[in-house]
Amino acid sequence: MDLLEYQGKQLFARHGLKVSPGEAVSTVEDAVRAAGEVGYPVVVKAQVLIGGRGKAGGVKLAADEAEVREHAGNILGMDIRGHVVRTLWIEHASDIATEYYASVLLDRSAKRPLVMFSVEGGVDIEEVAEKTPEKLIRHHVDPLAGLSRDEAVEIATEGGADADVVAGVADALVALYEVWLSEDATLAEINPLIVTPEREVRALDAKVSLDGNALYRHPENQALSDSENEDPIERRAKQEGVQYVKLDGDIGILGNGAGLVMSTLDVVAQAGGSPANFLDAGGGSDAEKIKQAVALILANEAVKAVLFNIFGGITRCDEVARGLIAAFDDIGAGGQSIPFVVRLDGTNDVEGRELLQEAALPNVYPARTMNEAAEKVVALAAGQTVGAGS
C-alpha cells in the first residue's frame, strides 16, 4: 500500500524524523488558510502516487496569498499521468544548502533490509545507481540486530556526507529504519533529504509503502490508503475481498489463482486482445463469489467480452458454472449482449460443462483449451462471430 507524501511524513514525524510544518487540504480556501498558518513562503504540492509531479507543474512555490490561490486553483483537479489531484500539501518552504538521498527497503534477493544513502539527492536515484554507482552506498542490515547508530554513522561517512552533518544524517537513517521496521513498511524513502543553511537535516519528501498483510498490527494506518484516487471498481473489489486490478483493455478476465490469471492476460494479449482487468477468484470459490466477480467485471463499461479461465484444484468447476448461471439469472449478465467464453478444466469439469450446456445461456461459448479460449474471446471482442455459441 503506497502512501501519499503527507501521509509518509506523518509516519516520519511519529518516529522523530524532522519534517517541515505543513497541512493537507483539498480546497483553495483551505490552502490559503493553511499557508497563513505554516507561514510564507510556502510550497504547494500535489499529492499523487506517481513520480514526475514537479515536471508536470504539480509543485509550486508561493510567496503570498495571491500566489497560493493561483497555484492551488491550477493544481487541484490537475491530471498527472492519469492521477487526478484531489489533495494538496501546503508546506513552509525550506532553504536548502544540500540535497541527499536516503532509503530503507526490503531486499528480496538478499533477504535482508537494505539501507541506501547518497549525497546525490533530489534527482532520479535509479540514474545515480546506473551512472555513478560509487555515489550510492548500499548497506545490508542484519534484521535480527537492527541498524545501530554506529553503522548509520559509517554509512553517512562512507557516503560522503558533510562532516558537520554526519551525526544528523545518522540520526535520520536510524529514524528511517525505525519507520520501516515498526510500521511494517516495505519501502521508506526520502528524496531529497535536505541540509538547511542552519545545518539541520530534514525530510523534504516521503515515499512509503506499507505491507497490506501487516495492517492488522497497525489499525491507525488502515485509513491511509489513497481511496479518493483509487479506481472505484478496485475499491469495491477490495471491500468485497476480491483480487481485482483494472487494466486498459476491453476483455474482462476471470480466473483462479494469481499465476494462472497473469498467464491468461498474457495469452489473450498474444492472441491480439487487450485485457480489461486482472481478477483472481481465488481457491475454493463458490457460486456466490463467482457471481459477485462477474458483477465487478461488468462494472467496467469498456468490457466487450469476458473470458473465464478455470483450472479447478480446490475450486470446483460446477460451482463456477453455477455462479455464471446465477449471474445471468440474478444480475442480468446476459442482458448486455456481452459474450462469455468459458474454459473449465480440472475438478468437476464435466459437471460444470454439462450445467452450462443445460442452462443454454445466450452468448456463452465453451472452449476446451486456454489458447482456444483466448482466440475466441479476442474475435468476439472485435465483433466477429465464432462457432459453438450455446
Partner: protein
C-alpha cells in the same frame, strides 16, 4: 527417488483442528501420506479422525517423531509456529498459510539461517509438495499428476496444475511438484529446489514456472548455467502486468523497471534455458525434449 516428500515422510500439521487444516490433512492421508500428528495449542489430547493432536511442536516431536511439518494456522500465528517446529528439530516445514506479513517472513528466514540450519522451509503462501505415488503434503490436486521424470518448481499453484496437466496428457509424469509460493521472502528459492532436482535420479527434466516481481528467476538462470546439467524449460507469467500493481500474490509486483517478465525471460534464455510463451508451449517443449532423450536412450 523424488524430492522432499516420499514414503519416508512423517507429517504433522499445525492447524489440524481448523476447517481447512483438517480437510487437507485428511486428503493428504487418503493419498497415502503418513500423517502422524497435529499441533493445536490448547487441544492436546484430542484427535482428528484418529490423528493425535498435541499442544506444542516439542511434544509432537517427542511423541510421534514427525520429520515434516505443514503449517495451516492463520497468518498472525504462522511465524511462531514455523520457528517452534524448527526449534523442535523438524527438518522440513511446508507453510501453506497466505497473508503472512513480509517482516515476519524476513525474521523467520534469518532466524532459520542463523539458528536452525537443519530445517528447510517451503512457502509460505504455497500449494505444498506432491511426489506422485508417494506422498502429498499440501493442497495440490493429486489426481492431475502421475509419477514420472519431470520435476516442477513453481511460484504459482493453479498455473502449475495447468502445465502439469498438459504434460500428463502428453503421457509424461512428474518426480515431484514443488510450490515455493508467491510471497516476497520465500523460505526456499528456485535455486534451492533446482539443486535438489539436479541431484535426484528420477528427475530428467525440470520445469520452472516463475512470475513477475523480485529476481528469483534471474538468480535461477545464473545457477542453471553453472550447476544444472539437466534440461530446464521455463515459463514466466505477467508480461502484460502494469508497473506498481500487485497481481494477486504479495510478491508479484513490478517495481520501476525491476522484476519484469521480459527481463526474466531474457535472463533465462541468455543462459540457454528454453522459455515457453504459453503454458501449452512449455508443455510442448518439455515433451519434445523428453521424447528426444528417450529416443537417444534406445
Amino acid at each position: 527417488m523424488s524430492v522432499l516428500v516420499d514414503e519416508r515422510t512423517r507429517l504433522a500439521v499445525a492447524g489440524i483442528t481448523g476447517r481447512e487444516g483438517s480437510f487437507h490433512t485428511l486428503n493428504n492421508r487418503r493419498y497415502g501420506t503418513n500423517v502422524v500428528g497435529g499441533v493445536t495449542p490448547g487441544k492436546g489430547g484430542q484427535d482428528v479422525e484418529g490423528i493425535p493432536v498435541f499442544d506444542s511442536w516439542a511434544e509432537a516431536v517427542q511423541e510421534v517423531q514427525p520429520n515434516t511439518a505443514m503449517i495451516f494456522v492463520p497468518p498472525r500465528f504462522a511465524a511462531d509456529s514455523i520457528l517452534e517446529a524448527a526449534a523442535a528439530g523438524v527438518e522440513l516445514v511446508v507453510t501453506i498459510t497466505e497473508g503472512i506479513p513480509a517482516h515476519d517472513e524476513l525474521r523467520v528466514y534469518n532466524i532459520l539461517k542463523r539458528d536452525h540450519v537443519g530445517t528447510r522451509l517451503i512457502g509460505p503462501n504455497c500449494p505444498g509438495i506432491l511426489s506422485p505415488g508417494k506422498a502429498n503434503v499440501g493442497i495440490i490436486p493429486a489426481s492431475f499428476f502421475k509419477a514420472g521424470n519431470v520435476g516442477v518448481v513453481s511460484r504459482s499453484g493453479t498455473l502449475t496444475y495447468q502445465i502439469g496437466n498438459e504434460i500428463a496428457q502428453a503421457g509424461f509424469g512428474c518426480s515431484s511438484i514443488v510450490g515455493i509460493g508467491g510471497d516476497p521472502v520465500p523460505g526456499s528459492s528456485f535455486v534451492d529446489v533446482l539443486e535438489l532436482f539436479q541431484a535426484d535420479d528420477q528427475t530428467e527434466l525440470i520445469v520452472l514456472s516463475g512470475e513477475i516481481g523480485g529476481s528469483a528467476e534471474e538468480e535461477a538462470a545464473e545457477y542453471i548455467a553453472g550447476h544444472v546439467s539437466k534440461p530446464v524449460v521455463a515459463y514466466i507469467a505477467g508480461f502484460t502486468a502494469p508497473e506498481g500493481k500487485q497481481m494477486g500474490h504479495a510478491g508479484a509486483i513490478i517495481s520501476g523497471t525491476a522484476g519484469t517478465a521480459a527481463a526474466k525471460a531474457k535472463a533465462l534464455e541468455a543462459r540457454g534455458v528454453r522459455v515457453g510463451r504459453t503454458p501449452t508451449e512449455v508443455a510442448e517443449i518439455a515433451v519434445q525434449v523428453l521424447g528426444e532423450a528417450s529416443i537417444a536412450a534406445h
